[in-house]
Protein backbone atom coordinates (compact mmCIF):
# COMPACT_ATOMS: atom_id res chain seq x y z
CA UNK A 1 0.00 0.00 0.00
CA UNK A 2 1.41 3.32 -1.02
CA UNK A 3 1.41 5.48 2.08
CA UNK A 4 0.62 9.15 1.74
CA UNK A 5 3.61 11.37 2.52
CA UNK A 6 3.96 12.00 6.24
CA UNK A 7 2.57 15.37 7.25
CA UNK A 8 4.43 17.15 10.03
CA UNK A 9 2.37 17.33 13.21
CA UNK A 10 2.86 21.11 13.25
CA UNK A 11 0.79 21.37 10.09
CA UNK A 12 -1.95 19.29 11.71
CA UNK A 13 -1.99 21.55 14.76
CA UNK A 14 -1.94 24.73 12.71
CA UNK A 15 -4.86 23.55 10.62
CA UNK A 16 -6.79 22.59 13.76
CA UNK A 17 -6.11 26.00 15.34
CA UNK A 18 -7.24 27.64 12.13
CA UNK A 19 -10.44 25.59 12.35
CA UNK A 20 -10.89 26.86 15.94
CA UNK A 21 -10.64 30.43 14.65
CA UNK A 22 -13.26 29.71 11.99
CA UNK A 23 -15.44 28.17 14.67
CA UNK A 24 -15.65 31.41 16.67
CA UNK A 25 -15.57 33.83 13.73
CA UNK A 26 -18.46 36.26 14.16
CA UNK A 27 -21.36 35.65 11.80
CA UNK A 28 -24.43 37.76 11.15
CA UNK A 29 -27.44 37.06 13.36
CA UNK A 30 -29.53 34.22 12.09
CA UNK A 31 -26.61 32.71 10.20
CA UNK A 32 -25.04 31.22 13.29
CA UNK A 33 -27.17 28.09 13.07
CA UNK A 34 -25.66 27.38 9.66
CA UNK A 35 -22.06 27.48 10.83
CA UNK A 36 -20.32 24.23 9.81
CA UNK A 37 -18.57 22.20 12.51
CA UNK A 38 -15.14 23.29 11.29
CA UNK A 39 -13.18 21.73 14.12
CA UNK A 40 -15.15 18.46 13.86
CA UNK A 41 -14.53 18.30 10.09
CA UNK A 42 -10.85 18.98 10.54
CA UNK A 43 -10.51 16.31 13.24
CA UNK A 44 -12.26 13.73 11.06
CA UNK A 45 -10.05 14.67 8.13
CA UNK A 46 -6.84 14.14 10.07
CA UNK A 47 -8.14 10.96 11.69
CA UNK A 48 -8.64 9.56 8.18
CA UNK A 49 -5.40 10.97 6.80
CA UNK A 50 -3.04 10.15 9.65
CA UNK A 51 -4.88 7.64 11.84
CA UNK A 52 -1.76 6.43 13.63
CA UNK A 53 -0.88 9.91 14.89
CA UNK A 54 -4.14 11.82 15.23
CA UNK A 55 -6.70 10.20 17.50
CA UNK A 56 -8.49 10.46 20.80
CA UNK A 57 -5.69 12.50 22.38
CA UNK A 58 -5.98 15.27 19.79
CA UNK A 59 -9.75 15.23 20.15
CA UNK A 60 -9.44 15.64 23.91
CA UNK A 61 -6.91 18.49 23.81
CA UNK A 62 -8.68 20.49 21.12
CA UNK A 63 -11.99 19.84 22.86
CA UNK A 64 -10.58 21.45 26.00
CA UNK A 65 -9.40 24.46 23.95
CA UNK A 66 -12.86 24.69 22.42
CA UNK A 67 -14.43 24.72 25.90
CA UNK A 68 -12.17 27.57 26.94
CA UNK A 69 -12.98 29.56 23.83
CA UNK A 70 -16.72 29.02 23.88
CA UNK A 71 -16.98 29.30 27.66
CA UNK A 72 -18.89 26.03 27.98
CA UNK A 73 -18.42 23.68 30.91
CA UNK A 74 -14.76 22.65 30.92
CA UNK A 75 -14.51 19.10 29.56
CA UNK A 76 -17.77 19.08 27.63
CA UNK A 77 -16.29 19.44 24.16
CA UNK A 78 -13.31 17.34 25.26
CA UNK A 79 -15.71 14.46 25.88
CA UNK A 80 -17.57 15.00 22.60
CA UNK A 81 -14.44 15.23 20.46
CA UNK A 82 -12.88 12.22 22.18
CA UNK A 83 -15.92 10.18 21.18
CA UNK A 84 -15.90 11.70 17.69
CA UNK A 85 -12.25 10.82 17.08
CA UNK A 86 -12.76 7.34 18.51
CA UNK A 87 -15.69 6.72 16.15
CA UNK A 88 -13.61 8.07 13.29
CA UNK A 89 -10.82 5.61 14.12
CA UNK A 90 -13.45 2.85 14.30
CA UNK A 91 -14.86 3.46 10.81
CA UNK A 92 -11.48 4.34 9.31
CA UNK A 93 -10.97 1.13 7.21
CA UNK A 94 -14.30 1.40 5.40
CA UNK A 95 -14.16 5.17 5.22
CA UNK A 96 -11.07 5.00 3.02
CA UNK A 97 -12.82 2.64 0.61
CA UNK A 98 -15.87 4.87 0.22
CA UNK A 99 -16.56 7.36 -2.56
CA UNK A 100 -16.75 11.04 -1.68
CA UNK A 101 -20.56 11.02 -1.49
CA UNK A 102 -20.61 7.97 0.79
CA UNK A 103 -17.96 9.65 2.92
CA UNK A 104 -20.20 12.71 3.21
CA UNK A 105 -23.04 10.59 4.52
CA UNK A 106 -20.73 9.01 7.07
CA UNK A 107 -19.49 12.47 8.12
CA UNK A 108 -23.13 13.50 8.57
CA UNK A 109 -23.72 10.52 10.86
CA UNK A 110 -20.54 11.14 12.89
CA UNK A 111 -21.10 14.87 13.35
CA UNK A 112 -24.82 14.35 13.96
CA UNK A 113 -23.97 11.95 16.80
CA UNK A 114 -21.49 14.45 18.20
CA UNK A 115 -24.11 17.22 18.10
CA UNK A 116 -26.65 14.97 19.78
CA UNK A 117 -24.25 14.18 22.62
CA UNK A 118 -23.54 17.90 22.91
CA UNK A 119 -27.25 18.61 23.32
CA UNK A 120 -27.52 15.97 26.04
CA UNK A 121 -24.53 17.32 27.94
CA UNK A 122 -25.88 20.82 27.65
CA UNK A 123 -29.21 19.93 29.19
CA UNK A 124 -27.22 18.30 31.99
CA UNK A 125 -24.97 21.27 32.73
CA UNK A 126 -27.28 24.22 32.19
CA UNK A 127 -30.68 25.63 31.41
CA UNK A 128 -31.42 24.72 27.86
CA UNK A 129 -34.20 23.84 25.47
CA UNK A 130 -33.76 21.24 22.76
CA UNK A 131 -34.86 21.81 19.21
CA UNK A 132 -34.01 20.09 15.97
CA UNK A 133 -32.03 22.94 14.44
CA UNK A 134 -28.94 21.55 16.21
CA UNK A 135 -28.62 19.13 13.30
CA UNK A 136 -28.17 21.89 10.71
CA UNK A 137 -24.40 22.35 11.31
CA UNK A 138 -23.73 18.67 10.64
CA UNK A 139 -25.78 18.83 7.41
CA UNK A 140 -23.81 21.85 6.22
CA UNK A 141 -20.55 20.17 7.21
CA UNK A 142 -21.43 16.97 5.35
CA UNK A 143 -22.22 19.07 2.30
CA UNK A 144 -18.81 20.77 2.57
CA UNK A 145 -16.87 17.53 3.13
CA UNK A 146 -16.07 16.59 -0.52
CA UNK A 147 -14.67 20.04 -1.30
CA UNK A 148 -12.74 20.29 1.93
CA UNK A 149 -11.12 16.87 1.69
CA UNK A 150 -10.24 17.31 -2.01
CA UNK A 151 -8.74 20.72 -1.32
CA UNK A 152 -6.66 19.51 1.61
CA UNK A 153 -5.42 16.49 -0.30
CA UNK A 154 -4.31 18.77 -3.15
CA UNK A 155 -2.52 21.06 -0.72
CA UNK A 156 -0.80 18.09 0.92
CA UNK A 157 0.34 16.72 -2.41
CA UNK A 158 1.73 20.08 -3.42
CA UNK A 159 3.56 20.37 -0.11
CA UNK A 160 5.01 16.87 -0.52
CA UNK A 161 6.22 17.66 -4.05
CA UNK A 162 7.77 20.98 -3.15
Amino acid sequence: MARAPVVPLVVVWLSLIFALCLQVMPLADGWQVFRPEWIGLMLIYWCMQAPDRVGVFHGFVFGLLMDLIEGTALGQHALIFSILTFLAALVYPRFRAYSLVQQSVLVLVLLGLAQLIEQWLRTLTGVFSIHLSFLIPSLVSAFLWPWLSTMFKAIERRMANA
Binding site: C21, R35, V56, G71, I83
Partner: protein, 306 residues
Protein backbone atom coordinates in the same frame (compact mmCIF):
# COMPACT_ATOMS: atom_id res chain seq x y z
CA UNK B 1 -1.77 -2.86 13.24
CA UNK B 2 -2.40 -2.30 16.94
CA UNK B 3 -4.42 0.80 16.28
CA UNK B 4 -7.66 -1.16 16.67
CA UNK B 5 -7.04 -2.07 20.32
CA UNK B 6 -5.42 1.17 21.37
CA UNK B 7 -8.14 3.76 20.74
CA UNK B 8 -10.59 2.04 23.09
CA UNK B 9 -8.28 2.38 26.09
CA UNK B 10 -7.55 5.94 25.12
CA UNK B 11 -11.25 6.67 24.73
CA UNK B 12 -12.03 5.27 28.18
CA UNK B 13 -9.20 7.32 29.67
CA UNK B 14 -10.37 10.47 27.86
CA UNK B 15 -14.00 9.90 28.91
CA UNK B 16 -13.11 9.40 32.57
CA UNK B 17 -10.84 12.44 32.49
CA UNK B 18 -13.41 14.69 30.86
CA UNK B 19 -16.17 13.60 33.22
CA UNK B 20 -13.87 14.41 36.16
CA UNK B 21 -13.09 17.81 34.62
CA UNK B 22 -16.78 18.56 34.00
CA UNK B 23 -17.70 17.69 37.59
CA UNK B 24 -14.79 19.72 38.98
CA UNK B 25 -15.76 22.66 36.80
CA UNK B 26 -19.46 22.57 37.58
CA UNK B 27 -19.53 21.62 41.24
CA UNK B 28 -16.34 22.98 42.77
CA UNK B 29 -14.48 26.33 42.62
CA UNK B 30 -11.12 24.66 41.91
CA UNK B 31 -11.32 24.86 38.13
CA UNK B 32 -11.57 28.65 38.18
CA UNK B 33 -7.80 29.38 38.53
CA UNK B 34 -6.98 26.75 35.88
CA UNK B 35 -9.43 28.35 33.46
CA UNK B 36 -7.85 31.68 34.29
CA UNK B 37 -4.34 30.56 33.34
CA UNK B 38 -5.49 28.74 30.21
CA UNK B 39 -7.34 31.86 29.07
CA UNK B 40 -3.93 33.31 28.12
CA UNK B 41 -3.79 30.57 25.47
CA UNK B 42 -7.21 31.20 23.99
CA UNK B 43 -7.35 35.02 24.07
CA UNK B 44 -5.25 35.31 20.85
CA UNK B 45 -7.71 33.03 19.03
CA UNK B 46 -10.52 35.48 19.78
CA UNK B 47 -8.39 38.33 18.49
CA UNK B 48 -7.53 36.44 15.30
CA UNK B 49 -11.13 35.38 14.72
CA UNK B 50 -12.33 38.96 15.01
CA UNK B 51 -9.63 40.26 12.68
CA UNK B 52 -11.71 40.11 9.44
CA UNK B 53 -14.51 42.15 11.04
CA UNK B 54 -12.02 44.64 12.43
CA UNK B 55 -10.17 45.08 9.16
CA UNK B 56 -13.47 45.39 7.26
CA UNK B 57 -14.48 48.21 9.56
CA UNK B 58 -11.08 49.82 9.19
CA UNK B 59 -11.43 49.67 5.40
CA UNK B 60 -14.87 51.30 5.40
CA UNK B 61 -13.53 54.00 7.70
CA UNK B 62 -10.62 54.63 5.35
CA UNK B 63 -12.81 54.71 2.29
CA UNK B 64 -15.29 57.28 3.62
CA UNK B 65 -15.59 60.37 1.51
CA UNK B 66 -14.58 63.80 2.71
CA UNK B 67 -18.11 65.18 2.46
CA UNK B 68 -19.62 62.42 4.58
CA UNK B 69 -16.89 62.88 7.18
CA UNK B 70 -17.56 66.61 7.31
CA UNK B 71 -21.26 65.94 7.63
CA UNK B 72 -20.65 63.56 10.49
CA UNK B 73 -18.34 66.06 12.13
CA UNK B 74 -21.02 68.76 12.01
CA UNK B 75 -23.63 66.40 13.36
CA UNK B 76 -21.36 65.43 16.26
CA UNK B 77 -20.60 69.05 17.00
CA UNK B 78 -24.30 69.85 17.19
CA UNK B 79 -24.86 66.84 19.40
CA UNK B 80 -22.04 67.77 21.74
CA UNK B 81 -23.43 71.31 22.02
CA UNK B 82 -26.80 69.94 23.08
CA UNK B 83 -25.21 67.52 25.53
CA UNK B 84 -23.04 70.25 27.03
CA UNK B 85 -26.07 72.39 27.60
CA UNK B 86 -27.74 69.48 29.37
CA UNK B 87 -24.66 68.87 31.50
CA UNK B 88 -24.68 72.50 32.64
CA UNK B 89 -28.12 72.02 34.08
CA UNK B 90 -27.14 68.65 35.50
CA UNK B 91 -24.33 70.12 37.58
CA UNK B 92 -26.76 72.50 39.26
CA UNK B 93 -29.31 69.74 39.79
CA UNK B 94 -26.72 67.41 41.22
CA UNK B 95 -25.51 70.00 43.69
CA UNK B 96 -29.09 70.71 44.71
CA UNK B 97 -29.75 67.00 45.08
CA UNK B 98 -26.74 66.56 47.36
CA UNK B 99 -27.90 69.48 49.52
CA UNK B 100 -31.41 68.06 49.80
CA UNK B 101 -30.05 64.64 50.67
CA UNK B 102 -27.90 66.19 53.36
CA UNK B 103 -30.98 67.89 54.75
CA UNK B 104 -32.76 64.55 54.82
CA UNK B 105 -29.72 62.94 56.42
CA UNK B 106 -29.52 60.18 53.84
CA UNK B 107 -26.54 58.88 51.92
CA UNK B 108 -25.38 60.67 48.81
CA UNK B 109 -25.23 59.04 45.39
CA UNK B 110 -21.65 59.00 44.23
CA UNK B 111 -20.55 59.05 40.63
CA UNK B 112 -19.41 55.66 39.42
CA UNK B 113 -16.14 55.20 37.56
CA UNK B 114 -16.23 53.61 34.14
CA UNK B 115 -13.81 51.74 31.92
CA UNK B 116 -14.27 51.62 28.16
CA UNK B 117 -14.00 48.18 26.58
CA UNK B 118 -14.30 46.95 23.03
CA UNK B 119 -15.96 43.82 21.72
CA UNK B 120 -13.59 41.18 20.40
CA UNK B 121 -15.95 38.30 19.85
CA UNK B 122 -19.48 37.01 20.08
CA UNK B 123 -20.49 33.58 21.27
CA UNK B 124 -20.64 31.29 18.24
CA UNK B 125 -23.41 29.29 19.86
CA UNK B 126 -26.80 30.58 18.65
CA UNK B 127 -28.49 29.44 21.86
CA UNK B 128 -26.42 31.55 24.22
CA UNK B 129 -26.00 35.27 24.20
CA UNK B 130 -22.54 36.20 25.30
CA UNK B 131 -19.91 38.67 24.18
CA UNK B 132 -16.18 38.68 24.67
CA UNK B 133 -14.62 42.05 25.50
CA UNK B 134 -10.98 43.09 25.46
CA UNK B 135 -10.62 43.96 29.16
CA UNK B 136 -9.92 41.46 31.91
CA UNK B 137 -8.74 41.18 35.49
CA UNK B 138 -5.62 43.07 34.38
CA UNK B 139 -7.89 46.15 34.22
CA UNK B 140 -9.65 45.24 37.50
CA UNK B 141 -12.68 43.77 35.77
CA UNK B 142 -14.55 41.49 38.17
CA UNK B 143 -17.26 38.90 37.96
CA UNK B 144 -20.76 40.36 38.21
CA UNK B 145 -19.72 43.80 37.00
CA UNK B 146 -22.38 45.79 35.17
CA UNK B 147 -21.77 46.51 31.47
CA UNK B 148 -23.46 49.42 29.69
CA UNK B 149 -23.49 51.03 26.30
CA UNK B 150 -24.50 54.61 25.52
CA UNK B 151 -28.22 53.79 25.70
CA UNK B 152 -28.51 51.45 28.64
CA UNK B 153 -27.57 48.26 30.38
CA UNK B 154 -26.09 45.46 28.25
CA UNK B 155 -25.51 42.73 30.80
CA UNK B 156 -22.97 41.56 33.31
CA UNK B 157 -19.52 40.01 33.36
CA UNK B 158 -19.82 36.27 34.01
CA UNK B 159 -16.24 35.23 33.53
CA UNK B 160 -13.25 37.54 33.88
CA UNK B 161 -10.06 36.23 32.30
CA UNK B 162 -6.70 37.98 32.48
CA UNK B 163 -6.91 39.67 29.07
CA UNK B 164 -10.55 39.32 28.09
CA UNK B 165 -13.86 38.66 29.79
CA UNK B 166 -17.23 37.21 28.87
CA UNK B 167 -20.37 39.30 29.18
CA UNK B 168 -23.77 37.66 29.54
CA UNK B 169 -26.40 39.71 27.73
CA UNK B 170 -29.70 40.68 29.34
CA UNK B 171 -31.61 38.78 26.71
CA UNK B 172 -30.00 35.41 27.47
CA UNK B 173 -32.53 32.85 28.64
CA UNK B 174 -30.63 32.33 31.89
CA UNK B 175 -30.48 36.02 32.82
CA UNK B 176 -32.93 37.70 35.17
CA UNK B 177 -32.66 40.88 37.18
CA UNK B 178 -34.64 43.23 39.38
CA UNK B 179 -35.94 46.40 37.72
CA UNK B 180 -38.38 49.16 38.56
CA UNK B 181 -40.70 51.22 36.45
CA UNK B 182 -39.30 54.71 36.13
CA UNK B 183 -42.75 56.34 36.19
CA UNK B 184 -43.98 55.00 39.52
CA UNK B 185 -41.32 52.77 41.08
CA UNK B 186 -43.16 49.45 40.66
CA UNK B 187 -40.63 46.66 40.98
CA UNK B 188 -40.54 43.47 38.91
CA UNK B 189 -38.24 40.74 37.69
CA UNK B 190 -36.97 41.17 34.15
CA UNK B 191 -35.85 38.00 32.36
CA UNK B 192 -34.37 37.41 28.92
CA UNK B 193 -36.26 35.26 26.43
CA UNK B 194 -33.20 33.81 24.71
CA UNK B 195 -33.68 35.87 21.55
CA UNK B 196 -33.72 39.64 21.32
CA UNK B 197 -36.52 40.45 23.75
CA UNK B 198 -37.22 40.59 27.45
CA UNK B 199 -40.23 39.85 29.59
CA UNK B 200 -41.41 40.81 33.05
CA UNK B 201 -42.17 37.85 35.27
CA UNK B 202 -44.93 37.51 37.86
CA UNK B 203 -46.61 40.83 37.19
CA UNK B 204 -50.08 40.93 38.78
CA UNK B 205 -52.92 41.96 36.48
CA UNK B 206 -53.50 45.00 38.65
CA UNK B 207 -49.95 46.36 38.50
CA UNK B 208 -49.62 49.79 36.97
CA UNK B 209 -47.35 49.00 34.02
CA UNK B 210 -48.14 50.44 30.61
CA UNK B 211 -46.73 50.31 27.13
CA UNK B 212 -43.79 52.69 26.74
CA UNK B 213 -42.77 52.60 30.40
CA UNK B 214 -39.03 52.87 31.00
CA UNK B 215 -37.58 50.16 33.23
CA UNK B 216 -34.47 51.05 35.23
CA UNK B 217 -32.19 49.01 37.46
CA UNK B 218 -33.57 48.93 40.98
CA UNK B 219 -30.28 48.33 42.76
CA UNK B 220 -31.81 45.54 44.80
CA UNK B 221 -29.54 42.52 45.31
CA UNK B 222 -26.57 44.85 44.96
CA UNK B 223 -25.55 43.44 41.59
CA UNK B 224 -26.41 46.43 39.40
CA UNK B 225 -26.18 50.05 40.56
CA UNK B 226 -29.62 51.71 40.70
CA UNK B 227 -31.02 54.15 38.17
CA UNK B 228 -29.64 52.95 34.84
CA UNK B 229 -32.10 52.47 31.96
CA UNK B 230 -32.61 48.83 31.01
CA UNK B 231 -35.60 48.39 28.75
CA UNK B 232 -38.85 49.85 27.49
CA UNK B 233 -42.19 48.04 27.76
CA UNK B 234 -43.56 47.27 24.32
CA UNK B 235 -46.58 45.12 25.07
CA UNK B 236 -48.86 44.46 28.05
CA UNK B 237 -51.37 41.67 27.68
CA UNK B 238 -53.92 40.61 30.26
CA UNK B 239 -55.08 37.05 29.70
CA UNK B 240 -58.04 36.28 31.99
CA UNK B 241 -57.01 32.62 32.03
CA UNK B 242 -53.53 33.34 33.35
CA UNK B 243 -52.61 34.32 36.90
CA UNK B 244 -50.12 36.96 35.75
CA UNK B 245 -50.06 39.58 33.03
CA UNK B 246 -47.74 39.05 30.07
CA UNK B 247 -45.41 42.03 29.75
CA UNK B 248 -42.89 42.17 26.92
CA UNK B 249 -40.05 44.68 26.86
CA UNK B 250 -37.29 45.66 24.50
CA UNK B 251 -33.76 46.47 25.71
CA UNK B 252 -32.81 50.16 25.46
CA UNK B 253 -29.21 49.27 24.68
CA UNK B 254 -28.16 48.27 21.18
CA UNK B 255 -27.29 44.71 22.09
CA UNK B 256 -26.53 43.58 18.56
CA UNK B 257 -24.87 46.70 17.23
CA UNK B 258 -22.72 48.31 19.91
CA UNK B 259 -18.98 47.88 19.66
CA UNK B 260 -17.85 49.92 22.64
CA UNK B 261 -19.04 49.29 26.15
CA UNK B 262 -18.68 50.86 29.56
CA UNK B 263 -17.73 48.72 32.52
CA UNK B 264 -19.11 50.25 35.69
CA UNK B 265 -17.10 50.39 38.91
CA UNK B 266 -19.39 50.94 41.85
CA UNK B 267 -18.46 53.81 44.20
CA UNK B 268 -16.81 52.64 47.44
CA UNK B 269 -19.30 51.61 50.09
CA UNK B 270 -19.80 54.19 52.81
CA UNK B 271 -19.78 52.88 56.36
CA UNK B 272 -23.14 52.13 57.89
CA UNK B 273 -24.11 54.04 61.01
CA UNK B 274 -23.32 52.08 64.15
CA UNK B 275 -26.80 52.80 65.47
CA UNK B 276 -28.39 51.01 62.51
CA UNK B 277 -26.00 48.11 62.32
CA UNK B 278 -26.29 45.52 65.03
CA UNK B 279 -24.32 42.29 64.97
CA UNK B 280 -27.21 40.38 66.46
CA UNK B 281 -29.37 41.13 63.44
CA UNK B 282 -29.28 38.36 60.92
CA UNK B 283 -29.34 40.65 57.91
CA UNK B 284 -26.62 41.13 55.34
CA UNK B 285 -25.13 44.57 54.72
CA UNK B 286 -26.43 44.42 51.16
CA UNK B 287 -30.01 44.02 52.31
CA UNK B 288 -29.62 46.97 54.67
CA UNK B 289 -28.21 49.12 51.90
CA UNK B 290 -31.10 48.21 49.66
CA UNK B 291 -33.60 48.96 52.41
CA UNK B 292 -31.99 52.32 53.06
CA UNK B 293 -32.13 53.15 49.41
CA UNK B 294 -35.81 52.29 49.20
CA UNK B 295 -36.47 54.41 52.26
CA UNK B 296 -35.28 57.48 50.44
CA UNK B 297 -38.17 59.58 49.13
CA UNK B 298 -37.40 59.41 45.43
CA UNK B 299 -34.29 58.67 43.48
CA UNK B 300 -33.27 61.32 40.93
CA UNK B 301 -33.86 58.95 38.04
CA UNK B 302 -37.53 58.63 38.96
CA UNK B 303 -38.25 62.29 38.34
CA UNK B 304 -36.53 62.29 35.02
CA UNK B 305 -39.55 61.42 32.94
CA UNK B 306 -42.14 63.62 34.56
Amino acid sequence: MTASANPLYRLVAALVLSVIVIVLDQRTPWAEPVRHVLAYLTAPIHYVAYLPVDSGQWLTEQAQSRSSLMEENQRLQRQSLILEQKVQRLAVLEAENVRLRELLNSSADLDANVLVAEIIGVDPDPNRQELVINKGTGSDVFRGQAVLDAQGLIGQVVDAGPLSSRVLLLTDASHAMSVQVNRNGVRAVLAGNGQTGLRLLYVPDTADIREGDLLTTSGLAGRFPPGYPVARVTEVYHDPGQPFARVVAEPSAQLQRSRHFLLLFPPPREELDASIWDESMDISADALHAAQRLGQPASPAMQEER
